[in-house]
Subunit: 534 residues, 2 copies
């Protein structure tokens, strides 16, 4: 068995890398797969083999220059990984800070959205919210970098049964905030009751033996908390009208909602938001803000970044690349040359930059759409969600424009806190994005107060983002149609002579930092193989 041959001090990664080098990644897969130790999630991470540290040096190929466009997660990853192997990287970043959409809003953060005035955050010192990515599934490669760089993480409370559902115009439960636990208990209860009775009465033509039907009914009883007669009559899972306590205080269960009311409420359709592979618990985020990851990368590759360097032209020839950029410091156009270019600029921005792309690539870049997304952070004097409602992190969902409220999954027991007052996508995000900063704040406060009457009394300050109107980003994340994936995506994935695209948009993990990181690593591997072959 391979385990025997594995030196004791070897880490998993080193081991896999070694096996990978000897036998190729197929060997890694079959070997570890049969050992049964690794999950598909881990195998994904093991696919990447970093360029050998001494490859360039030993083969006399030193001095290779790579120009990286954009200091977001893809650009930072590429510079870091290539740097380890001795490549000479330069990152051009249009903004005065790195991270791209990994952007944490703190005191003094300032932005002028396209077509709007300046907005400067008046949040208190130490408070923040993440305008872009705010959570990381436990199996994403993003956590590998957190671990490697010593970025401390803490759970992101993506599931909290104490959060609320609040819908308008849905019948009897309109305008009523309902704890998630109550809606789930009732919907699961009634639904389990319906099916359990049907199965019990052999009303359905199921390919099950009598014994299997019993097991199914048993499951449904447990799933719905049904009584022995298979009725749902409410459940402690839904919470209490009056909490149980000490001595003779046995508590009083809440009454379940009426079947029709809960079906018409539409709450049930929210449940599955938590079921998605990349939304399931556990999720994490860096302590102190998502940009802790950016800072960790900057510590390692910061000297390679030219800030306020807005790319004006992307040129290439058979011998190299040449990037013209407006230098925000000198106010003059400059250029930088290299052997290869890794371009991580979002396609919405890239399509407007003159570039030596093939017609096919230019067409693809210009054809793909991006999702609208907007968020607002609301600072409150007091963490009333914790103090008044024992609600520690998690979210409330609604069919109002604000769509959802997220409670801070950090700094519990703190004095003040910043709620995510809305997080909207698509058409609603466009509507909110079209408003002034003040109008967005007003809408967030007015609608949010329907769920939390404490809003008006406790509110202090807001900061809102519309990603479509954010310069150098112009979109929340790539949004491929099935046809885009077929027609344009393969072109975007191929190097265009000496230029390689990277970013979440060059992945099947779109809208996630992991997509940016994975795509950067694939490009790094590609370039290195090309260099070593040349």
């Amino acid at each position: 068995m391979a385990t025997k041959e594995q030196p004791k001090e070897m880490t998993r990664r080193q081991f896999l890398t070694t096996v990978g080098k000897v036998g190729g990644s197929v060997a890694v897969f079959s070997l570890m797969g049969t050992m049964g130790l690794l999950t598909p999630e881990t195998l994904k991470a093991a696919e990447y083999t970093p360029p050998g540290k001494n490859d360039l040096h030993l083969s006399g190929r030193g001095g290779k220059k790579i120009v990286i466009l954009g200091a977001g997660m893809a650009g930072l990853t590429a510079a870091y990984e290539l740097g380890l192997a001795g490549y000479d990287c330069t990152i051009l970043e249009a903004k005065s800070f790195a991270g791209g959409r990994n952007w944490t809003i703190r005191k003094g953060t300032s932005v002028s959205e396209i077509g709007s005035g300046r907005q400067t955050s008046r949040f208190d010192n130490g408070l923040y919210f993440n305008a872009g990515p705010m959570r990381i599934p436990q199996f994403h490669v993003t956590l590998d970098y957190c671990k490697k760089f010593g970025v401390a993480i803490e759970p992101f409370n993506n599931v909290n049964e104490s959060g609320y559902y609040y819908n308008e115009n849905v019948g009897a439960l309109s305008g009523q905030r309902v704890p998630k636990r109550a809606a789930k208990a009732d919907v699961r209860g009634y639904v389990a009751e319906m099916l359990a009775k049907a199965v019990n009465q052999n009303a359905l033509d199921l390919p099950l033996t009598a014994e299997e039907k019993l097991k199914l009914v048993d499951y449904l009883k447990a799933e719905g908390d049904l009584n022995p007669d298979l009725f749902y009559k409410g459940s402690e899972r839904g919470g209490y009208k009056d909490e149980p306590g000490s001595r003779l205080d046995a508590g009083v269960l809440r009454d379940p909602f009426d079947l029709k009311a809960i079906i018409n409420s539409g709450f049930g359709k929210y449940f599955s938001n938590e079921y998605g592979y990349d939304q399931q618990m556990m999720m994490f985020h860096p302590v102190g803000g998502m940009d802790a990851i950016v800072k960790a990368f900057e510590k390692r590759v910061g000297s390679r970044i030219k800030y306020r360097a807005e790319v004006k032209e992307i040129r290439q020839s058979s011998s190299g690349v040449r990037i013209v950029y407006a230098d925000g410091h000198s106010g003059r156009d400059q250029e930088v040359r290299g052997d290869y270019c890794i371009c991580t600029i979002p396609l919405t921005v890239l399509k407007k930059i003159p570039a030596d792309f093939s017609p096919e690539m230019s067409k693809a870049i210009g054809s793909v759409g991006y999702a609208s997304a907007g968020k607002i952070g609301l600072q409150f004097k007091r963490r009333f969600w914790e103090e008044d409602e024992y609600l520690y992190g998690g979210s409330s969902l609604t069919n109002m424009d604000i769509t959802q409220i997220y409670y801070p999954p950090t700094d519990y027991f703190g004095k003040k806190g910043i709620l995510l007052g809305y997080y909207a996508y698509g058409g609603i995000a466009d509507k909110l994005g079209g408003m002034s900063y003040a109008e967005r704040e007003k809408l967030a406060l007015t609608q949010g107060a329907k769920i939390h009457p404490q809003y008006p009394k406790e509110f202090e300050a807001s900061f809102s983002i519309d990603w479509k109107k954010t310069k150098y980003q112009e979109g929340g994340w790539v949004s491929y149609s099935a046809n885009d994936r077929k027609t344009y995506y393969p072109t975007l994935c191929k190097p265009d002579n000496r230029i390689y695209l990277a970013g979440e948009h060059i992945s099947y993990i779109t809208a996630w930092q992991a997509g940016a990181i994975e795509s950067a690593r694939e490009v790094v591997t590609d370039i290195h193989q090309r260099v070593m072959k040349a």
Copy 2:
């Protein structure tokens, strides 16, 4: 409206306490309830009105002595709350440390179980596991004390879809570890399919309009991730055979399990473990160990505790109480007198202590049963669950004796870690409790290795607890039958002349620290009212 009259700098608790004092707790309830600000969970906390700080002093009733038996959560709470009001409390604690079942096992922790030899923990410095309570629902009063005392908390990962189910002798899926996400996706998918088709074909006699049936089917499609024809054909929710990645790596979904296989697996019955009111997310625990709460109490009332003071007799007369205890320091019996006694000793232990209880109380104390419970902590050289499996906290469930494995919800990315190798109750706990420490370790390792083959290679040290065999505890938690609650419980809740019982067993929040705290607070209120009336 009351909000207007509320001075700005008043906290919620102060406000409620004030209103409570003026109008009684009914006033608080109706007032805040109609304001719609507070949840039932918060109202529970608001029920407690601490004794006025100057009540004793102003009424010339100073110098009242309270003898508290046991420095567990109930005893500590009572001493703390009474102390604030000027009562002179003495806590007798049989062990050399406080906390009772709130017990964190660290390097050097040592115990001799009843009838067994000594066991001393060889865990590394800084590593720990909680032998008793390990998680706190977000709405429990326990968190109020954490907040008040500045005890930092972090989430307890009670839900993690990357954990496993592993059952033996359950048909096709026997002996196969299955990620929770996969079992949930399949069971929910098939079940939603069955019901959706039945509803769609009007096979069931449901009290719903056609429009409501459509909504129900819509919900089921979302809940089960059904295709447009209402079939469940697998779902990304269950995870991938091959993870999606960058460029052309779209990933390969796992194949769903066969309907019969997943029904026979019994996995479905595990789902609802997470649905219980007191098991739902979010849950929390103190950073650094559950005993951080104990230490915070000790800081405030530690000078009141006599350690190694084993109660031998509990005496009372019309004028006061007298407690005889064996002083472990001097080796001699001593006594302490007081006006009232709060007895928090578990009934399993109390029933063996000579005491001046009424016959009715003695009978009740001797009649109630306690649950068996046992845990083992396993220290591993390497956090293989994180490194190999991207599994950060949460649990795996099994029908083997070990019942469940919990992964540490703290110190992510650390080098080593302590797993909870089993957590068993009832008959299984008795079986494990009957084993030697070495036999328990062997069983935990052998069975655990079926889920995690890394066990044998990475194991370093264990420490196991059987609560029935733990001196001065002799049980996991009280276990009332319905008849016990009717016949004996009301007696236990009443003061027996000058002696008041407190603890999780004097509550409807049994097995939780909150039960101990709430019952202590009710006793504090009772005694204070009696003193002030006298």
